[in-house]
């Protein structure tokens, strides 16, 4: 009975948020003169078409990793908006390294992945350092670092430096990664599913295991919950904060790997530029739970995949963006409310336990 109650409240917030969003969006659609029901139907059917599912799954992998990166930050009360810059810099440099080396497969692929993680971790640790040493908000420093990363990439991607000119003059990209650096794809549903998804699953499992089962994870969560209590219990709290930021950056560095290793084999400015907002939103929606984030990631990709279809049917596809923004706000608000309700519930339960023990004639209480 208690477990059911817990489950109910855990789902209540996202469900309420989604309902609210659906209603809100329906109103907007109605104003525009579109039919909400048929719109949702359209989204559902288009998204479930087999050739779109693979694209959605591939996108899910990327979103998932961004979500896990964000979730790791959340455990330490850190808002890693820097995922954008960390991911881009990581994938760029990983692509450059991959393009410049010709090792056998079992070395080349791990090298590329490892490079991405290291670059992401290093870039993130700048804001981590500033946070720990100077108490500077990681949000602000990361926003600045994102722009700097963008600028650096644009600068370095020039043919005279690290880039390559493609067929047309705007098609700048890094040198092609040799075949040994390619990851296979699975041919299902009539599409090509990136095998990097396996890595993502491993990351998700590790995330859950380390955070909940290991001493390191305990220390991490404790520091996020109470810096002082963690310190008093022997944890090097400032170092924990720094390490968490670095780990978050490392995972952020993995987000674009599927695309890079199984599809484009080179980095260009055509790569998606922003995963931070999505990652943070997914971590919020999925309550930093590895399965929750996966579900949210799929849902998110599903919506995005269906957006162009809306366009063709006279519904502004920007509605998807508004839905996303609304979901974030609705979810966070809903969680806040649920948190207060459950806390009051618990206090009532404790009060009852207190009273009942007194009645049962236990040791006197005033």
């Amino acid at each position: 009975m208690k477990k059911l109650n817990k489950l109910f409240w855990a789902l209540a917030a996202p469900v309420a948020a989604i309902l609210f969003t659906l209603i809100f969006v329906s109103i907007i659609l109605l104003i525009k003169g579109a039919n909400p029901l048929s719109t949702f139907q359209l989204i559902a059917s288009y998204g479930s078409q087999s050739d779109n599912i693979v694209a959605e799954l591939n996108q899910t992998v990327a979103y998932y990793l961004a979500g896990v990166a964000a979730a790791i930050g959340f455990k330490m009360l850190l808002f890693n908006i820097g995922i954008d810059g960390q991911y881009r810099l990581a994938i760029f440099i990983a692509a450059v390294v991959g393009g410049a080396t010709h090792l056998p497969s079992y070395l080349e692929v791990p090298l590329i992945i490892f490079t991405g993680m290291v670059v992401g971790a290093l870039w993130a640790s700048i804001s981590g350092y500033l946070k720990v040493k100077r108490n500077i908000s990681e949000v602000i420093s990361n926003i600045m670092l994102n722009t700097i990363a963008s600028g650096l990439i644009t600068y370095l991607l020039q043919p005279s430096r690290l880039g390559l000119k493609g067929k047309s003059s705007d098609n700048l990209s890094t040198p092609m990664i040799p075949n040994s650096g390619w990851m296979p794809t699975f041919h299902i549903f009539g599409g090509e599913l990136y095998s990097f998804g396996i890595v993502a699953i491993i990351v998700g499992v590790l995330y859950w295991i380390v955070l909940n089962k290991s001493v390191f994870g305990f220390n991490l969560r404790a520091t996020g919950m109470s810096f002082r209590a963690a310190r008093a219990s022997g944890v090097n709290a400032p170092r924990m904060v720094f390490i968490t930021m670095a780990i978050s950056g490392a995972i952020a560095g993995l987000t674009g790997m599927g695309e890079l290793l199984s599809h484009t084999h080179t980095y260009s400015l055509a790569f998606p530029t922003g995963y931070a907002l999505t990652g943070l939103a997914l971590a919020l929606l999925g309550r930093s739970n590895p399965i929750g984030i996966a579900v949210a990631a799929f849902f998110w990709s599903f919506l995005e995949q269906a957006a162009p279809a809306l366009d063709l049917n006279g519904v502004p596809k920007e509605i998807v963006m508004m839905m996303q923004g609304t979901i974030i706000l609705a979810t966070v608000t809903a969680y806040e409310i649920v948190k207060r309700i459950t806390r009051r519930q618990q206090q009532r339960l404790v009060g009852a336990a207190d009273a009942s023990r007194v009645e049962a004639g236990q040791k006197g209480d005033k």
Binding site: F218, M225, A229, A232, S233, Q346, D354
Partner: protein, 504 residues
Amino acid sequence: MSLAIELKGIEKNYPGVVANHDVDITVEKGNIHAIIGENGAGKSTLMKILYGMVKPDSGTISIFENPVTIKSPQDAIGLGIGMVHQHFMLADNATVLENIVLGSEPMKAKVVVDYAKARAHLQEIIKTYGLEINPDDLVADLGVGFRQRVEIAKVLFRGAKILILDEPTAVLVPQEVDELFKNLKVLTANGLTIIFISHKLDEVMAIADSISVMRRGTTVAELVPGKTNKKELAEYMIGGELPAPRPATTKPRDEKVLVVKDASLNDRTGRETLHSINLEIHAGEILGLAGVEGNGQDALIEMIMGLEKPTSGSVHTVGLDTNVSSLRQIRDHGVGYIPQDRQRDGLLMAAPLWENRILGHQETKPMSNGPWIDKGAAKKDSERIIEEFDVRTPSNNVMASALSGGNQQKFIVGREMSGDPKMLIAAQPTRGVDVGAQAIIWDHIIEARLKGTGVLLVSADLDELFKLSDRIAVIFRGTIVDYLDPRSTTPEQLGLAMTGEKIA
């Protein structure tokens, strides 16, 4: 002889607690009236009533010989009562003038603040009462003594004729105390009345014109300094009974769990917080540390645990040199810690109880096994603690924040005693805890002593110190001033020692 304040028969009850009962206080106009009493004697509740933050259940209040009801701080201000809180409410990044004027700004043209008028008014106050503050100073640049004067000026600015000062000297060094007293004399010379809450007897004897003593929620005496002495005051405060010292069933062992040799400590700004501390605790012994809060107890605990390294001298905790070993290593070597601020330093409020069981012990068996947490062991042992220490909770899955303070404390005590630590640091272990829980906690501390744990008991509760300690060290202004034997010391003597006086 006109009365500024007359409180008669004040009663205030909270569920389960009698905060004020039959309280009578009379204060003459122009006097400094001190209210003294131990922690929990009911002083702060009484002041909250006087300042309108709390309504009494019964009793009468007369201000300047007019019966009044005070329903809110605004009422109190309107009657001329001003409260100077113990914790200052100032914005660092604003000037003295701005801090004083906020909320009662004189206006020009409805939107603009008439700083000229405010400044003139403030200057008048400064001159009349000799407050020596500069309206244009940034509060961030001011030391504690000056900040207090700003708070005083704040209430004077709003026309206070009666000032309530809550433990004003708690944060001051001796020179600042002298300056404060000078100021208070000027205030009373100008006809203001002052209520001064304290438990520092020597200060009270020096400055007050009349004294009320409170104990267990009621006023037990009203005295005049000229006609009494500190010993008598202490007697009234504590009740004069000697708690029966426990017969010592075992003697402390030879092995030492704590050796502090001539250790001094400076804080981050370079101020010396501990001076030449010499302290030893044996296994199987309870060393009580007596002292008014703020005399260095926190710094001492941090130094012993290894959070701060001594600036000079040495500290060896359970055999480990704190200059070399980390807090983690020291704790893992067998040190339990019951922190004074349980919610901030002792618990993860947002985590369930069983996870809190792990806190502080996360890197040793049985809570962990190598790199992995042993959830089963944690749950099992938290059940044991809940049972043994009578923690009132429906399950070990409840979040720590849902428990009452007393139950949280019982859980923490239970946790810190598990594994039979070599040394236990207990800071105010029964503060805010009901009598029943207190008894349980005391029993367990005594049992730990029997088993051979060395206990550092830091407490402001004299009763507790007497009941449990084998020896009592008295800390005052960052140094140990005396060692006392509870069997041959009276509570009054201890109270005196806590004020820095050496007793014969």
